[in-house]
Every structure is written in structure tokens, then in C-alpha cells.
Amino acid sequence: MPRFATVLFLAGFAFLLFSLTLTLGFGEPPMRAGQGVLDQAVAGTGAANAVSAVLLGFRGLDTLGELSILFAAATAGGLVLGHRRPGGDGPPAGAILQAGTRLLFPLMLVVGFYIVLHGHLTPGGGFQGGVILAAAFFLPVLAGTGAGPDHALLRVVEGLAGTVFILIGLAALWTGGVFLEPLLVDRGALHELFSAGTLPLLYLAVGLKVGAELAGLLAHMARAGGGEA
């Protein structure tokens, strides 16, 4: 009976939501805030990628919040899983896997940092790159060739990266601006790597933090999973 009710309500919900969305004007957004953002993105942040401008400039606080959420998730994950000792490793990896891992690791590192650092110019940025970085460090665990990233190091990285993000924001405050205001925007030309002021720095912090958080989470889970096996 509850299942029936659930299905019934769900059908109603989907139908109503769908009919509501039909009244929304698709394809003709009002762009009340969006147009302004597009117009001011370059002048305000120096970033060619408007999405990055929004993420780190206009809505930098969201990004900070998002980083904090990741940090919270990692901390909570650590709290949940941290009580147990690392379990035994799986069977040792074969030669091909080991070689592939070693080969891939620097590649992924490079790709990751590239994506992170070019986030203000091209599609991509700290999140995307950070995930790749995490994957790079997690690779040995997956392949069974190593213990994964060092926990203490990860904690330092994630802590400092987050702090740096905030400190850059506060630096604006201390230099007479407001919190999270992009600094040094005028330096450097559009479309160059060293442009958009502190934006790349922020992205670097984001990338490192995302990478560290995800790597930490995955490592935690891997260890837990290994223990159970």
C-alpha cells in the first residue's frame, strides 16, 4: 500500500512538475543577471571564460562554500571510516598494470594541472582538473601498486589550499577592498595564462583542494573496502 501511494504520488509529482516547466520560457532566458555578468566578466575579473569568472569572481563565495562542502564530506568520511586500521592489500598487480600506472601518473598530473591553470581561459578549471589530479594519485591504489597518497600530506594540502583561497579573499579585504574581490585584475592581457589577476591562483587552490579531498575520500573508502574483503 505505501508503495502504491508512493508510485501514485510520484506520477502526480512528475506530471505536475512537467506541466509547470512547460509554462517556463525555454530558450529565452530573462538573463537579468546573466547579461550583466557577460558584459562585465572581462573588466571585472580578466577571465575569458565567463563561467570561471562567475565561479571565482562573481560567485566566489559559492565556490568557497563548495570547497568547504567537499572538506566537510571528507572530514565526515574520515570521521565515519577513520576508526578502523588499514586492512590488508589486495593481490599484487601485474606488470602491465604497474607499468601503465607509472606511465599514466605523470601524464594525468600534467593534464590535471593544465586544466586547473587554464580554467580562466578555456573550459575547465579547478574542479575538473582537481578530479583528474585526484585520479592520478588514486591510480596506484586502484592498480594495487601502492598505498595511495599519504594522509598527513593530504590533510596539509587540503587545509592549506582552503586557507589560501580564503586568505586571497581576505587579502582584498586588507587592501581596502571587500572579501573575495579579484585582485590585480589589470595585470596581464586577456587570453594569456598570467592574466585575470589572482584568479589562476584561486583555481590552483581549488584544484589542489578538490584533488586532495577526493583523493582522501577515495583512499578512505578503498581502505575500508580492503578491510572488508
Binding site: L61, D62, G159, I166
Partner: protein, 490 residues
């Protein structure tokens, strides 16, 4: 300056694990130091002459950037966040797990930062982000005890809350579709476009989504489970603090963007149901923690009823009810933490811990509204507002409040009677110390509220008037058609 309210706890949270490894004392001190600093910032900002003011974060004028709106109400909640977190700072549970303690403290700081963000933020999506931050931190804290039941409860809480968040995000999407902006002040100007069913549906999405943490009926079934498995400090934090900030967000939305009469009625109805449902369930509860959990649901119902009242009167009533509950419930949870266990096992507990017993009676009396304790003023304001409003729903709410009070008296004082009964002394004397002392601080706050009642009343009235003034909000945030980007200095 107010950015520190968010930034400092975040920095402290990020650095806590690092500093803890570096120096034990630094690790212990950094969290409280950050919270004390936040308190100082709040005190410094509390200047009626400059309130309210808005901050454009990142220097981008609204509606492009994110705005912090600082009025007396936001400051009050910011201060309350810092103070409550400080008072309910996670203690060493004595299990020797330093790592877990650091993580719990980190999460608590994140929770504080998120709560401050919720109080200040004037941007819908930013509110969502902070809400999620608070949610994730509270999932972690819900599981902090490390018992199987805690994991299960935390998971169930997570699923419920995540579904709520999904719905809320859908609501935000709808609003963005309709208006193309996320700034509350801007939305307030565009409120006319959200009058239709789409707007109503969007608000309901947000109501259900944020209502999860606000313990709104009927999406609050996590409450008894989670409070039953966490430490009482966390329960106090969630019930006392986090729920109020979710309510605050809904109130801001209601005041600024959704002034529809029907939505207030919906809120009123849900509040009444929550009130009666919570109190009834509490009446039947067999252990103190869950009794308090259900009672918290009931009180939050009362908060919703209060905030559903139109105009300044409703805001004033709501603020008083909310703050009152914010002070009481953690105190009660702390006492429950001292005693713990089922109601039957509590026979004679107050005889062995007289101070705790007195505090319990004080809290209970204020909760049921014995004048001149603040609970009475809260109830009086709500009832006056409801009676002034009239209407079938208003009368229903009035009767519900009165009946709920009687139920409250019945179960709270049944417990008080048991606490003071001459029980057999089999029950070991509860560990005294921190919990009772902290609860004593809450008790002192209650008493102080009585002593300084008239001054507080003036303050609250100004606060309510300010918070209820949508035009003031819009004026303070600024014109929504900026010609030039502010770029550098504001």
C-alpha cells in the same frame, strides 16, 4: 567585516587538522578563538546607526555578485551561532580518539560558518550552498558516535535531506527560469512575476527542501532518530541552532519574495500540524532524548506558526519564539546528556544533581510559558497575533497552541516528578561537570532575559520591523540596474 563571520570559522576548520598535528594546544585553541573573534566582530558591527547595510562580496554590485545583507536580525543570528557553537563545543568523549575529536571540531566549525552564511547571505543559490554545507557537516556530526545505529540514522537523514535539497534546487531552477536572477533584493523587486502557480510551486519546493532541516512537518521524521544517536551537544546544536537558520531563510524568502497570503496559510497549517504532532509524540516518548526531540519538532511548529503571521508582529513573535527555543533546547539536551537513558531510570536523578534538576525545572517552566519567563512572552505574542488575524486556521492554531502547552506541561512535569521522586538509588550518579555548567549558562541567559526584558523587547521590535521591511532591504542592497561595475573599491 562581517565576512569574517563566515571566513574565520572556515579557516579554522581547514587549519584545525594541520595545526593539531603541529601543536596540541594550537589545535585546541584555534576553534574557540575563531568563534570568539566572530563574536567580537558581531559586537563591533552592532551599531544601530549603520544597520542595516549590505556587502557586495567580490566587489560586484548586485544582482551580479553575491550580497551579504547585514541587519540586526542577521547579526543576532550570527552572534548566536558563534555563542552556541562555543557553548556546545565538542568535548573529548574520553574514548582517546584524538583524530575523531579533531574531525568533529572541524565539522562543528564548518557548521558554524554555514550557519553564519545562512544568516547573512542575500543570494538564493548561495543560501543553498551554505545550506548544503550545514547539511553535510550535520551528517557527519550525526554519525559522530560511531555506533551502527548512528551510521544508519545518519544515512537515513542524509537520504531524506538530500531529497529535500534536490527539490529545493529544482525550486531555485524554476525561480531562475522565471526571473533570471538569484539576488533576494532583485527577486523582491520582481516578486510580481512569481505570483503565479509557478512561483508558488517554487516556494513550496524551497519550503520542503529547507524545511527538512527546519524540522518542518511532515519532513522531519529524521529528528528523533538522529537526536537519539548523536551526542546531546550535537543534538542541541541541530535543534537549537541549525533549525532556526533554516527557518530564517524561509522567513526571508516569505517576506521578500513571496508575500502571498496562501503561502502563509500553508506555513501556518504545517506549523500547527508539527506543533500538535510533535507534542503528542513527545507525550508518549519513553526516553528523555527523544522526548526532547519530539518537543523540538513541536516548538519548531510554533516557530512556523509565529512566522506565518503577517507583518512586523509576526516577525517579532517568530524571533522571540525562535530565540527562546534556541536557548532552551540545547540546555535541555545537555541535561539529557548528563542523565541519559529512559524515563524510568531517571527516578531521583535531580536529588543527586540538584543544580541540574533546578535547571530542568527552569527550562521546563519557560518552555510551557510561566510568566515572567521569556516563554510566556513568546506564546503571548503568537496568540495575540493569531487572534488579531482571526480566520478558521487562526483559531485552530490558537487552540492547538493551548492544547500543546497542556500536553507539554503533562510530559515535562511527569518527568520532573520522576526526577525528584525518591527513587531507589540503583541508578549511578550521573557524571557532573561540563554539561551542567553549560546548561547553567543557558539558564543564566533565560534569567537574564527576564531581567532585561524591556530593553530586549525594544531591540526585538526594531529587529522585527527592520526584517519585515522588504523595501528597506531592496533600498539597502542597492539599485538593481548598476551602470558600471564597481571593480575596485566599493
Amino acid at each position: 567585516m562581517m565576512a569574517y563571520a563566515v571566513a574565520l570559522p572556515l579557516v579554522a576548520a581547514f587549519l584545525l587538522p594541520v595545526l593539531h598535528n603541529a601543536s596540541r594546544w594550537l589545535g585546541i585553541l584555534v576553534g574557540p578563538a575563531a568563534l570568539v573573534a566572530v563574536l567580537l566582530v558581531v559586537f563591533q558591527s552592532w551599531q544601530p546607526a549603520v544597520l542595516p547595510f549590505a556587502m557586495d562580496l567580490g566587489g560586484f554590485a548586485p544582482p551580479w555578485g553575491i550580497t551579504f545583507y547585514v541587519d540586526a536580525l542577521a547579526l543576532l543570528f550570527c552572534g548566536a551561532v558563534a555563542l552556541m557553537t562555543l557553548l556546545l563545543w565538542p568535548r573529548d568523549e574520553g574514548d582517546g580518539d584524538a583524530d575523531a575529536l579533531v574531525r568533529r571540531r572541524s565539522l562543528t566549525l564548518l557548521l558554524a560558518a554555514a550557519a553564519a552564511g545562512l544568516a547573512l547571505s542575500g543570494d538564493l543559490f548561495n543560501i543553498y550552498v551554505f545550506y548544503e554545507l550545514a547539511a553535510v557537516a550535520s551528517y557527519g556530526l550525526a554519525a559522530e558516535r560511531g555506533t551502527p545505529a548512528a551510521y544508519a540514522a545518519a544515512f537515513r537523514y542524509l537520504m531524506l535531506s538530500a531529497l529535500g535539497s534536490v527539490i529545493a534546487l529544482a525550486g531555485i531552477a524554476i525561480i531562475y527560469f522565471e526571473t533570471g536572477t538569484l539576488n533576494l533584493a532583485h527577486l523582491s523587486l520582481l516578486a510580481g512575476e512569481l505570483q503565479g502557480p509557478t512561483g508558488m510551486a517554487a516556494f513550496l519546493c524551497l519550503l520542503v527542501g529547507f524545511g527538512v532541516k527546519a524540522e518542518l512537518f511532515p519532513v522531519n521524521a529524521w529528528v528523533p532518530e538522529v537526536y537519539g544517536v548523536t551526542t546531546r551537544r550535537t543534538a542541541g546544536l541541530l535543534a537549537g541552532l541549525v533549525s532556526k537558520l533554516a527557518v530564517l531563510v524561509l522567513v526571508r524568502l516569505l517576506v521578500l519574495v513571496f508575500p502571498q497570503e496562501g503561502l502563509r496559510d500553508a506555513l501556518l497549517l504545517l506549523g500547527v500540524l508539527g506543533l500538535i504532532g510533535g507534542e503528542l509524540a513527545a507525550w508518549k516518548a519513553r526516553d528523555m532524548t527523544r522526548m526532547l526531540a519530539f518537543s523540538s519538532i513541536g516548538q519548531l511548529g510554533l516557530v512556523f506558526v509565529a512566522f506565518s503571521l503577517p507583518g512586523t508582529a509576526g516577525l517579532v513573535a517568530g524571533i522571540v519564539v525562535a530565540v527562546h527555543h534556541m536557548v532552551l533546547k540545547p540546555g535541555l539536551f545537555l541535561l539529557a546528556g548528563q542523565w541519559g537513558g529512559g524515563l524510568r531510570g531517571l527516578a531521583g536523578a535531580a536529588r543527586r544533581a540538584p543544580l541540574a534538576g533546578l535547571l530542568f525545572v527552569l527550562f521546563a517552566l519557560s518552555l510551557v510559558g510561566l510568566p515572567p519567563l521569556p516563554g510566556f512572552w513568546a506564546k503571548f505574542l503568537v496568540l495575540t497575533g493569531l487572534a488579531g488575524q482571526g480566520g478558521g486556521l487562526g483559531w485552530l492554531a490558537m487552540v492547538a497552541i493551548l492544547v500543546a502547552t497542556v500536553l507539554e506541561v503533562s510530559y515535562l512535569f511527569r518527568l520532573a516528578g520522576r526526577l525528584y521522586s525518591r527513587g531507589d538509588d540503583e541508578v549511578p550518579a550521573a557524571a557532573t561537570g561540563g554539561g551542567t555548567v553549560t546548561a547553567g549558562v543557558f539558564g543564566a541567559l533565560v534569567v537574564a532575559a527576564v531581567v532585561f526584558a524591556p530593553a530586549l523587547w525594544d531591540e526585538v521590535q526594531d529587529m522585527g520591523a527592520g526584517a519585515g521591511d522588504a523595501a528597506l532591504y531592496v533600498r539597502t542592497v542597492g539599485p538593481m540596474v548598476p551602470t558600471m561595475i564597481s571593480g575596485g573599491a566599493p
